[in-house]
Symmetry: C2
DNA sequence: CGTTCGGGCTGGATCGTTCTAGGTCTGCCT
DNA sequence: AGGCAGACCTAGAACGATCCAGCCCGAACG
């Protein structure tokens, strides 16, 4: 930096002003400094910058590497911070690297807030973390903790999916449920609400999270007198059921309607082409505001969009 | 830090020594400092630490968020640095965030080396980057650039896969090739080598990278007089072919053998259960050394393991 | 007994920025 | 002419750690 200042014939402070784009430098000097910096191929040291300025304008993000859905969320986050002057610091949690370590690393970087994507940490840990730093929890239900929670409204999503099936004329609709998985209870509730509202019986079959679970559930679904339509807990489970049904000679969707959940990459595979329930896409639109401490239990829960797809 | 020093009744320098785990502090003081730090819930500021010490001991990693294979590699990287005192700084490249920006961010952090996972950057950019910082390129072929390259030996992998099929007694083996995709030429070469060595004809069919490509190739494969075994360019393509073949009533693997490539998550889906060519797993085993500048064209190319799976 | 040695500890400089307080100059108003 | 505002710029003090040179002191040595 001193070299640039010397070359441009100004002080280091002025170089700082120019390179930050801060007001208070004459056009002539601004130009001179920029040229000198370019000629010397000078780029400010991010570490020093962060250290000196009180605000780090950095958001810490913890995500599980192996979860495609998390990756999609993180990608959307990058789109969201773009042009705001904020930076994201990514810390993955993997098998060899527990979430706790990732969070610790972010705190050591003095992030101004932490976003946790689908954290598996116990509630108590999250509560404690929320006490230290503004905290946003994505894709996980969490009540009674002083953190912002952003997640899909699973109950409404499941209800919408069932109503979609009812709209197609189905009367025997079953749900392959997710057991104790996060969101499973809400989705069951949504299914139950939609079916009882329509005066139809509620059929819950044990499903699961993986495509193997979907295959395992196939006999019950395909048995004589079985349902004509199924809402699976998620896309993987739906894909498993779909494959098993086709292997058994059934024509989907003619003989059986299958709907997934999550709008994941699996559903988009051309050989699967699943109807699924999405979360609304990561694009523009959404309101943006600074993450800030909020009263316990506060949450933002966008309504799910209508189902879309062909299956 | 000053607070901790005061509380423990020692100097700041000694606190630094203790917390770094450096030699030169008496057990008594070490204990005292650690207790004081714990009581004050003090954690050293990573930014300041990095700034002062000449070595940042940080490796920058750029990866594409949406590629599951990249995620697996990154996960393995975390396993590899664990306990070495090195840190990884992750910078994703996504649609809204070109690789160039990710690299820039890493350089501004003063990483000591940069790892690029499957970079799409033009060769010239990579060459220039390699001139500034020790560079490792993963999962991409690259010659004539002063960077370390780590990738699978596609030619040997494809040859091994074909030999596996020949070992099963197949004589009409086709390859759904990847066109101009990275690695496609090498895999073609491997197929050709294995088949000509066995005195068999070489059948190349246009394939592709997606499962839709696999579906599209199905008619040619399933036509009368078609091959009895197929090596697809990758798992997605193989999965597409598999689905199409089954939909056409073929029994895989009785009527047709299909082998994928990459050992990706798709292949592990129970409904796919594909034979595939893996890269050797991310676990222990591998030799570790410091990334360092090497002569142009140097590379480490581990031989592929034998195929495994059931399809 | 004087010297050396080395472990333990400390003060102060330092890393590369940004921030604060102030300094200079010009032009305009009274 | 004096005062004042505002634009532009600068010196030097932070930020929070690590590194360096050197001090102190008891033990070992000749």
């Amino acid at each position: 930096m001193a070299d640039v200042a010397a070359r441009a014939g100004v002080s280091r402070a002025l170089v700082s002003i120019v390179l930050r784009g801060a007001p208070g430098a004459s056009p002539a000097n601004r130009e001179r400094v920029l040229r000198a910096a370019a000629e010397l191929d000078y780029h400010p040291d991010h570490r020093a910058r962060l250290l000196r300025s009180a605000r780090t304008r950095t958001l810490g993000v913890v995500h599980a590497l192996h979860r495609p859905f998390h990756a999609e969320l993180v990608e959307a986050l990058y789109g969201a911070v773009e042009g705001t002057g904020w930076r994201l610091a990514l810390e993955p949690s993997a098998g060899s690297r527990p979430e706790r370590a990732a969070v610790r690393a972010l705190l050591d970087l003095r992030c101004e807030a932490v976003l946790l994507v689908g954290p598996a940490l116990p509630r108590a840990d999250l509560a404690e973390l929320a006490g230290r730093v503004p905290l946003v929890v994505l894709a996980r239900a969490l009540r009674g903790v002083a953190a912002d929670v952003v997640r899909t409204d699973d109950e409404a999503g499941a209800r919408a999916a069932v109503e979609h099936l009812l709209g197609l004329g189905h009367e025997r609709v079953a749900h392959l449920d997710g057991g104790r998985a996060p969101g499973a209870a809400e989705r069951r509730r949504g299914v139950r609400a939609a079916l009882t509202a329509a005066g139809l019986p509620v059929t819950l079959l044990p499903g699961g999270l993986t495509d193997a679970d979907g295959v395992r559930a196939a006999p019950a679904v395909l048995a004589p007198g079985g349902p004509g339509a199924v809402l699976a807990f998620n896309d993987a489970c739906a894909a498993g059921l779909l494959a098993a049904a086709r292997a058994a000679g059934r024509d989907v969707p003619a003989d059986l309607s299958v709907v997934g959940y999550d709008d994941s990459a699996v559903a988009a595979l051309s050989t699967v082409a699943l109807t699924t329930v999405g979360g609304g896409g990561g694009g523009g639109g959404g309101r943006r505001r600074r993450a800030a401490r909020r009263p316990p239990g506060a949450r933002a829960a966008p309504a799910p969009p209508p189902p879309a797809g062909a299956g």
